[in-house]
């Protein structure tokens, strides 16, 4: 019986170790930090080059688009801290900068010294909820 438990124990240990190793390696490349603009901009150096999901509000009248392309430059702020962001691609309907209905967005991408580079399909406009009315 003890022999059997040793075998089971060893198998479990190997499997768990392999699992943890794989998990650790994939997590390192697969994860993104979820941060608000002000958290990142107060300590820019530390966050440059890391994959981020950046949460903030589009600055009023800051969205600019290169004519006849899908290239956007815009500003995102949170608690007074502002970051310049760029993005190429289709934007969600709720991505707006008109006074009164500035979008709350989450941007996926990386921070560099010349602003935030948003990945393709990396603009997510937060809407209150698909199901519930804003309360």
């Amino acid at each position: 019986m003890t022999h059997r438990y040793i075998k089971i124990g060893a198998t479990t240990a190997v499997l768990v170790a392999a699992f943890m190793g794989l998990m650790w390696s994939t997590l390192r490349e697969g994860t993104e930090y979820y941060k608000h603009v002000d958290e990142v901009m107060t300590d820019q150096q530390a966050w440059q080059g890391k994959r981020l999901q950046l949460h903030g509000h589009v600055v009023t009248n800051s969205i600019m688009r290169k004519p006849n392309t899908l290239e956007y430059i815009f500003k995102v702020q949170n608690n007074g801290q502002v970051v310049n962001a760029r993005y190429t691609g289709i934007v969600p309907d709720t991505f707006k900068d008109t006074p009164g209905s500035e979008a709350e967005v989450v941007l996926k991408g990386t921070l560099t010294s010349d602003g935030f580079h948003t990945e393709p399909n990396g603009v997510m406009a937060k809407c209150p909820s698909k199901y519930e009315k804003k309360s």
Partner: protein, 828 residues
């Protein structure tokens, strides 16, 4: 009306608590009347909840905007259909709908099993009633759907979110809830078995059909959610590993595991603890999924608003479930010991075991990934998110191993596969797999993961084809019919097994569709009128962008001409719709050009009417439609496995006709299968049977054992007294039936008649009794087949009346037949 609704909910709660308490007291004191009273109260809850639902639906239909819930989720102009579906459109109503479904399912389960599983029923009632009490409590104290405005009724409601005004979305929640709620029934029986100590396999028999039913709806709900996301959300895919999608997937994994491991327990009396735990975990995950969606603990597009009170209530309930269930399991561990050990890793039970581990691992992995952001924030303070790629990286190999097991499992024998057995079983599937792999390599298809996926799909498809072909061929030779009739008979003879294979085929098609994702192409482009864009083999030209209005909404539509190989093949109309009252949230109307090979999927991301520019997002998604078809076949297979025995006996009784009608459908399925040439040989992988053999005890039994012929096919028409190869489960089963009939004191002719009624033909008789009549019966389908579909339909209706020969006999022995069915089910 609102106060009536509130009252009904309160009354349900009170009656529910009564049922819960009185049942368990009755069971402990062996007071039959108390138990009966508890069951009565349990039915009453169902009646009360039905009434409450009627009140709610009435409020929606009449537009009673004094009720907050109604005012939130509907308005006066909404179509009737969506007014009804608004019932479960919001948080409060969805909880109420949950309780309603649970009360209905619970009542049916209790009613059906009240005699057969008498000792379990009080505890089943208590368990289900307790779950109902929790949800009713939520409604009564915290989320009353019948809450009214203090300031008087609103003039009009706010309307259901336009995104939800979609057919799939209207039926997706009920389907998913049916699946979720259905999982409560197996849990209740499991708890009852643990509480009473009746831990033989009888509770499993009571729940396995329920689990299958719930699983079917869960799968269907997932499918509807996927197709809704694909057609309505317009981001080009159908599964985003969103926390709420994951929440529905978690119990699906464990329920799938249970459906498989339950067979190991039936066959080999192994994995007994495991099965109980799976049932508990599945139920726990349904509650956990509900908690995820409704507490706001994870961020998701689907989530209802955040609600800390609800979160705490749910947490408390989940802790109670875990403590009570696992407490019971630990208490009963001595009774749950396995009666057999694993003989070999090259056995079917080992394959089932590995399949279970993988499914359970998937569940925990997905759970981990879903909770990771919340966990990481709690531990490190930094919110780390994981996204689709992370899940995909992990789930791809997991899915491939599962796919391999789907193919390999059915080829392995129970207990231990011998080498010659393995060669015989694996040869054709392996050839199909390697052949496909070689062909794909020659075509330059990438190996990881699509290439491997496609090769394994071939393996599984070949396995299934081989199983069907060998089985049908043997049956064909024994019954002397054509191959299709034999195939129908085969499926009828062992619905669970062959229904399961059909479900596996569905799974293969789904994975084939997933494999196609490796070849997705997409692009985003601003397109002026007259300009072209090229993607894959298609060229799209923007013809114009137009605005129109139909009163309910404003529509902006792009007119796109689609060219392939220099010819225009289609025109697509992606659009944005701005519903009234929801102008800030336009809906994206996707334009899809479907084909079996690939979908051309276009959404209008933005537009400028003045300059006629359309910003387009274009995807080419290969093989997507196979996913949907796979779900269809999965449902078909599960449906076949679910058919009650009586339907089967009835269907086989008129099999000649039925065969003609279903031949078309089967031809279709066969066309999809890779028809693997395989030669039917006697000795197909039989199912080992460990029970005692039925040796003749009386002269009559001996005589009959020599008169009735085995239908298994492996023994070349030996009579059931002689066909005693250890692989032959069929003859064993028939001997059992015979023994049962002898025990009832039946005479020779009565038994022959009973077998006739059961098998519907004389295939198991050494000498047919009525040649003329039989000739006719077997000839009819072919005549009818020639006269076309209409005639078949007519004849099928006519033939639903059983042949005269059997009629009186069936009438006399209907009670007997029920008993035989019961006992057969035990044997099966």
């Amino acid at each position: 009306m609102a106060s009536l609704g509130s009252f009904l909910l309160l009354a349900s709660f009170v009656v529910c608590s009564y049922a819960a308490v009185v049942s368990v007291v009755g069971a402990r004191r062996h007071a039959r009347r108390l138990v009966e009273s508890g069951i009565g109260a349990f039915y009453l809850v169902c009646a009360l909840m039905t009434a409450a639902s009627a009140v709610m639906i009435n409020a929606f239909l009449t537009g009673d905007f004094s009720i907050q819930y109604v005012a939130h989720y509907s308005d006066s102009v909404q179509p009737l259909f969506y007014k009804i579906t608004s019932y479960w459109g919001g948080l409060d109503g969805s909880i109420m709908f949950w309780v309603f479904l649970l009360s209905v399912f619970g009542s049916i389960a209790v009613y059906v099993n009240r005699e057969r599983h008498r000792e379990l029923i009080p505890y089943v009632v208590t368990t289900i009633a307790t779950v109902q009490m929790f949800f009713l409590y939520l409604m009564v104290v915290h989320k009353n759907p019948f809450l009214t405005y203090l300031s008087g009724p609103r003039a009009d409601g706010e309307g259901l979110n336009p995104l939800l005004q979609n057919f799939y979305m209207a039926i997706h929640p009920p389907s998913l809830y049916t699946g979720f709620v259905g999982m409560t029934i197996p849990f209740a029986f499991g708890i009852a078995a643990l509480a009473t100590g009746h831990l033989d396999d009888s509770w499993l028999r009571a729940v396995r059909r329920w689990t299958m039913f719930a699983w079917l709806f869960l799968s269907f709900g997932l499918f509807l959610g996927m197709i809704w996301a694909y057609e309505e959300l317009g981001w080009g895919g159908y599964w985003a590993w969103d926390p709420v999608e994951n929440a529905a997937l978690l119990p699906w994994f464990t329920a799938t595991a249970f459906l498989h491991s339950v067979m190991v327990q039936e066959r080999r009396s192994m994995l007994r603890v495991w099965n109980v735990v799976l049932v508990i975990v599945t139920f726990f995950l349904t509650i956990f999924g509900t908690f995820l969606t409704r507490s706001g603990i994870v961020q998701s597009v689907h989530a209802f608003g955040s609600d800390p009170v609800l979160a705490w209530l749910f947490t408390g309930f989940m802790v109670v479930i875990l403590v009570v269930s696992f407490g019971l399991v630990i208490w009963r561990l001595p009774l749950l010991r396995a009666r057999n050990d694993l003989d070999s890793w090259m056995s079917r039970e080992a394959a089932f075991l590995v399949n279970n581990w993988i499914l359970l691992f998937s569940a925990f992995f997905v759970l981990f990934g879903t909770m990771f952001p919340t966990l990481s924030e709690a531990v490190t303070g930094n919110r780390l998110t994981v996204a689709g790629p992370f899940f995909n990286k992990w789930m791809t190999p997991i899915a491939l191993v599962l796919l391999f097991l789907t193919g390999a499992g059915p080829l392995l024998a129970w207990r231990k596969s011998t080498l010659s057995n393995l060669v015989y079983q694996f040869m054709w599937p392996a050839i199909a797999c390697l052949g496909t792999a070689a062909a794909l390599a020659a075509l330059g298809v990438r190996v990881w993961a699509s290439g491997i996926c496609f090769s394994l799909c071939a393996l599984v498809a070949a396995t299934i084809a081989q199983e069907f072909f060998r089985g049908a061929n043997i049956r064909r030779r024994n019954t002397g019919t054509d191959i299709f009739t034999a195939l129908v008979g085969l499926v009828g003879r062992n619905k669970r097994r062959y229904g399961g294979y059909i479900a596996h085929l569905g799974f293969v098609l789904i994975l084939l569709g997933f494999g196609g994702m490796g070849f997705n192409k997409d692009t985003q482009v601003p397109l002026k009128a007259g300009e072209d864009v090229k993607i894959g083999r298609y060229t799209l030209r923007n013809t114009s962008v137009k605005v129109s209005d139909d009163g309910q909404k404003q529509m902006v539509t792009a007119y796109l001409a689609v060219f392939a190989d220099g010819k225009q093949i289609d025109t697509l109309y992606p659009a944005k719709w701005f519903f009234r009252k929801h102008e800030q949230e336009p809906t994206t109307e996707v334009a899809i050009r479907r084909s079996l090979a690939e979908d051309l999927y276009v959404t209008l991301g933005g537009y400028e009417v003045g300059t006629q520019v359309a910003n387009l997002e274009i995807h080419v998604n290969p093989l997507v439609n196979w996913v949907w078809m796979g779900f269809g076949i999965l449902a078909l297979g599960t449906g076949i496995a679910l058919l009650p025995e009586r339907v089967y006996a009835f269907a086989v009784a008129r099999m000649p006709i039925e065969a003609a009608a279903t031949t078309t459908a089967l031809t279709l399925i066969l066309a999809i299968l890779f028809a693997t040439p395989a030669f039917a040989q006697p000795g197909m992988s039989g199912d080992q049977n460990t029970r005692t053999s039925f040796y003749a005890r009386t002269d009559l039994e001996k005589q009959l054992q020599h008169e009735i012929v085995c239908t298994c096919g492996a023994c070349g028409h030996a009579n059931i007294g002689e066909c005693r190869k250890d692989a032959c489960a069929t003859s064993h089963e028939m001997r059992g039936e015979l023994a049962a009939l002898i025990d009832q004191g039946k005479g020779h002719d009565e038994i022959i008649q009973a077998f006739l009624a059961k098998y519907g033909s004389e295939e198991m008789l050494g000498a047919p009794i009525d040649k003329g009549f039989n000739r006719l019966a077997w000839l009819v389908p072919y005549l009818l087949g020639a006269t076309g579909a209409a005639a078949i339909g007519f004849a099928a209706v006519k033939w639903t009346r059983k042949p005269d020969v059997q009629e009186e006999n069936v009438a006399i022995d209907s009670a007997l037949e029920e008993r035989i069915d019961d006992e057969l089910r035990d044997l099966d």
